[in-house]
Symmetry: C2
Subunit: 64 residues, 2 copies
């Protein structure tokens, strides 16, 4: 399986947001993440980097 | 290896842009794509969908 783990960038740190992410659908200023089990998380942010071979997606939250 | 293929959405069609994509880095209104061989493509557009288990990333070009 080729899912990735999604991390939230928080300053210099990266916090795990959702593991085993299959789908990401951007909608306006949110991202809808869905893992391989169908669990969804919605986050107000944007993708700032992806490294699929490392199974890693980095998301930055939008400030209000 | 868990790379994906990047497609450009063109109306109802999807055209292959770059195979075996490892990294994607958004910069302003462009996306820098890098495949597992280090080949890069830069496209003015945004990610509109990802399905990693299908190894698929869909990009929409920004209109000038």
């Amino acid at each position: 399986m080729c899912e990735a783990n999604a991390f939230l960038k928080n300053g210099d740190r990266e916090e795990l947001l959702l593991e085993s992410v299959d789908k990401i659908t951007p909608e306006a200023d949110t991202l809808v993440l869905e893992d391989i089990f169908g669990q969804r998380k919605i986050v107000r942010g944007k993708i700032v980097g992806m490294a699929l071979v490392e199974h890693k997606i980095v998301i930055e939250e939008l400030q209000p």
